[in-house]
Amino acid sequence: MTTTNLRGILLVLPATVWLLVFSVAPVILLITMSFWTSSIFGTTTDFTLDNYRVILDDPIYFKVLAQTIRISATVTLISLIVSYPMAYFIATRPSATKALFLVLLFLPFWSSYVVRTFVWLPMLGRTGLVNTILMKLGIINAPLDWLLYNEGATHVALVYVYTLFMTLPIYLSLDKLDPKLIEAAADLGAGPWRTFRRVILPLSMPGVLSGCVMVFLLACGAYVTPQLLGGTSGIMFGNIIAPQYTVTNNWALGCALSVVLILVVSFCLIILGRKVRLNDVFIGG
């Protein structure tokens, strides 16, 4: 028994050491540096609470944070509504065609989200597909300018980029569903809507929660999508963290902002995911 234990420890040791150095240590440094002092001369280890004070004092940070959570929550909700019927569709395919529909679902997500975000420029731009079609149909006379560079564009693209992370866990939980339960509900006289609400939906709840956690988390950390499509009104928290490093060189403030984002996201996830164990999010949905 003790030799088995030792073997287990030896096997996990390389990856554990790796993760302690390259995952845990950087996060500890992040938290530590959020209490340091940044100035034009660089960042020094002088302890200060000023970074957090700045965040609390300047209403812009709270505003963008609230906007980030609002956008992420809306994107999560839209993804859920859009993805659930799709997951149901794939789960109810006969096994011969199921793999095909799954591959069709996966294929667009097998490429960088930079590309998947970028495609929305020619979709929504002045000479883009949407404007061209609307003009061809005679619905509008001049191209619409407001399709891009605002919150709406950010929403559409975030749903597009992350919706697989909603569809997949819901599909997995629907696929595991015992068909006898649905038959039983029908035999007992439950209509389709009632069967859905009382049997299918509750049993697919773990998948729904996993999907919500994943999409919300991914959306909260977004940087590329709002930067490229959001314009000035559609910015998210990532877009005020990055300039602390690329523009103003205020590392300590950037760290404090990052810590705030981690705390707020964790808090939201605890509320949202009280019923879902994080391991379940990844293993088997």
């Binding site: 073997r7 287990g8 420890i9 096997l11 996990v12 390389p14 990856a15 790796w18 993760l19 390259f22 995952s23 950087p26 996060v27 440094l29 992040l30 540096m33 019927p85 799709m86 149901y88 395919r93 069709l104 679902l105 097998w110 490429s111 960088s112 989200y113 930079v114 590309v115 970028f118 495609v119 420029l121 020619p122 979709m123 731009g125 000479t127 883009g128 061209t132 696929d175 068909p179 649905i182 038959e183 389709p192 069967t195 991914l218 950390g221 977004a222 940087y223 490229l228 928290f237 990532g238 963290i241 990055a242 490093y245 950037g254 760290c255 990052s258 984002l261 981690i262 994080l278 293993i283």
Partner: protein
């Protein structure tokens, strides 16, 4: 495998076929939402026009010629491919050892699981920032092999573990126990029993790991210094201006990841079947 399709068939309600049709139409619309932007990108990559947009003027290959004649672009593709291969191999090896270890009991297993998931759970932008300060503070020179490689390995590792772990867990222990009873050493058991069974799964995981690395952007952006992977190169081009060859760059990136993923997916599907038959 049972599916709820058969149960649906037994629900003979009058509105059944109507709901079925509605679901079909919905699925078609969903796939259109997924594919129209991609097809548009492909079309624009062949469009002989100085602006990235419609109308489609004439067919041309010149944007592809331009991309493949650009040293920066070729260098970025080369860097991304080598980085992807290296991080896929290293991360899959680490993850395989980890998954093997997780079949045993050891102290703090629950805590280790949380540590493994950490790189995935940290919001994307913060995932980039921590490496900028970590390597910056440690005065490690930023570059492909000094900083981007460890970042990619760390990013890919949890996903590799999460795809390997269920396969390892579902493995029938009696084969190994039989081999051990017959006097096989642990290393022999691994190379002669476990590895042949899980090999397709490991290959599939390595390919997924490659595409995860190949497509990674935000962490790389902060960790790579002045060098370029393909997504970072595309980003710097995008931030500059909308150049007419950008759709071609996008299509090339997409093709590389999709082909590798598709191979990985079919291998993985095959390995699932073979494990099921054991």
């Amino acid at each position: 495998m049972s599916s709820i399709a058969s149960a649906e068939n037994t629900m003979k309600t009058s509105s059944f076929s109507l709901r079925r049709t509605a679901l079909m139409v919905y699925a078609a619309a969903f796939y259109a939402f997924l594919y129209v932007p991609i097809l548009l990108l492909v079309a624009l990559s062949f469009n002989d026009s100085q602006i990235t947009g419609l109308p489609f003027k004439a067919f041309t290959l010149r944007w592809y010629v331009q991309v493949f004649n650009s040293t920066d672009m070729l260098l970025a593709i080369g860097s991304s491919v080598v980085l992807g291969i290296l991080s896929a191999f290293i991360a899959t090896t680490l993850a395989l050892l980890l998954a093997l270890g997780f079949r045993h009991e050891f102290p703090l297993k629950g805590l280790l699981m949380k540590i493994i998931l950490m790189p995935v759970l940290i919001p994307g932008i913060v995932g980039g920032v921590i490496y900028l300060i970590f390597f910056g503070y440690g005065q490690i020179p930023f570059g492909l092999w000094t900083t981007a490689l460890p970042v990619h390995i760390t990013w890919v590792l949890p996903f590799a573990f999460l795809t390997l772990f269920p396969r390892m867990h579902g493995l029938d222990r009696s084969l190994e126990e039989a081999a051990a009873d017959l006097g096989a050493r642990p290393s022999t058991v691994f190379f002669r029993i476990i590895l042949p069974i899980i090999k397709p799964g490991v290959v599939a995981t390595t390919m997924f790991a490659f595409t995860l690395s190949f497509d990674e952007f935000i962490r790389t952006l902060f960790a790579i210094g002045s060098q370029r992977t393909v997504p970072v190169h595309l980003w710097s081009l995008l931030s500059d201006q909308m150049a007419p060859f950008l759709p071609a760059v996008g299509v090339i990136i997409m093709m590389i990841s999709m082909i590798v993923s598709l191979i990985g997916f079919s291998l993985s599907a095959r390995s699932n079947n073979s494990i099921g038959s054991y």
